[in-house]
Symmetry: C2
Subunit: 218 residues, 2 copies
């Protein structure tokens, strides 16, 4: 692995473990056994590392896993798998989502990139929900669509922060992730039409079982 | 006003304007024209000020405005007014909600108090929704109630953070507050029964008009 990639991987691990604000570039260099000067050859500062993590990893993961709207893909599967994937990205880069407003406020370039990606995601989720409506699997007023999408994104984005504020223990494990997916299913549930109910409830049962298994494993 | 109260009021204003992390106890003392020593006579440190703000102001506002579940109160009014009030508290102490996970992680005593208040609020919101169900104004499965309440609290708590991450301008005005209330109404909407639809839509129209008026005033 190239030094630049090593720095990025070590930073993700240290940020996730200790919280971004408690990790300095010196900690990162020490963790890798390289000099601070070597680190500064690759990145100007910590904000620069965070921007690269977002640009090269989180952004790519979010956008490339975005399911295409096509007749071959079962639309309910598509939306559930996408939400599942968003939560997985969130767990992988949890330092980012644990402290999002502060990180964006400190780094205007990151904020711009973030807003751009979010706007793309909102469009794509809207298309997915519309395709579910066209396939008679969901029912909603078109005028409510932007708000429904916005609530799904809000819950996705801040589920981890909410979990951390509600619980005194810091441990983040798979059960946290499944609880987040189940929240999304609760929001979608009232809009699922009768013809898709069975498929929806099967998906919910699957995630409930995964949650139980992950709680039992702790 | 006593010095202690002056310190609290100045701190709320400075934290809201500049963000809590950019304000030191020296800034607060300078703003009031008092010595840092005088400030330290009343509060041990900045965390102590934030804890007092939560304990004496935010907590009181949240708990005392909690509507009683009683036959005299129209239940739909009660829940909408309460959500309205929660958003108002959020605007008033927006420094707290802009940066909640970090503030709680830095201050375990504050975290304990916060979890305690949140658990009380969750119980009360559950009672309100159950009274709406009993009055045939809402329909939901009882097993879904904890999840619905949890989503309402998540959206309440992180609406301001979400707004700030989605928008490049920092300005927080009344329109932000009305958009938050409307988000809550979107979540509740699918559960409103036919007999309460008219009353619900009237409330939504009122908040939409207030949003339009606040946007026109900017």
């Amino acid at each position: 692995m190239k030094t630049r990639d090593k720095i990025i991987q070590a930073s993700i691990a240290l940020f996730n473990e200790h919280g971004e604000r408690n990790v300095t570039t010196n900690h990162i260099a020490a963790d890798l056994g390289i000099s601070p000067g070597n680190l500064y050859y690759h990145f100007r500062n910590k904000e620069d590392i965070i921007l690269s993590i977002y640009e090269e990893y989180a952004r790519t993961l979010l956008l490339e896993s975005m399911p295409e709207v096509s007749p071959d893909v079962k639309p309910l599967d598509a939306i559930i798998l996408y939400m599942d994937m968003v939560f997985q990205a969130m767990m992988k880069f949890r330092f980012f989502y644990s402290n999002l407003p502060v990180l964006l406020a400190k780094n205007p370039l990151l904020h711009d990139k973030y807003v751009e990606v979010q706007s793309f995601i909102a469009d794509r989720v809207s298309q997915l929900l519309l395709s579910l409506k066209q396939a008679d699997m969901m029912e909603f007023d078109d005028e409510d669509l932007p708000e429904i999408v916005s609530i799904l994104r809000l819950v996705n984005t801040f589920w981890l922060s909410f979990y951390q504020t509600q619980n005194n223990e810091e441990e983040i494990n798979d059960s946290v992730f499944y609880q987040g997916v189940l929240k999304i299913l609760v929001i979608i549930h009232p809009y699922i039409s009768d013809s898709a109910k069975e498929e929806f409830l099967a998906a919910r049962t699957m995630y409930r079982k995964r949650l139980e298994a992950s709680l039992a494993a702790v």
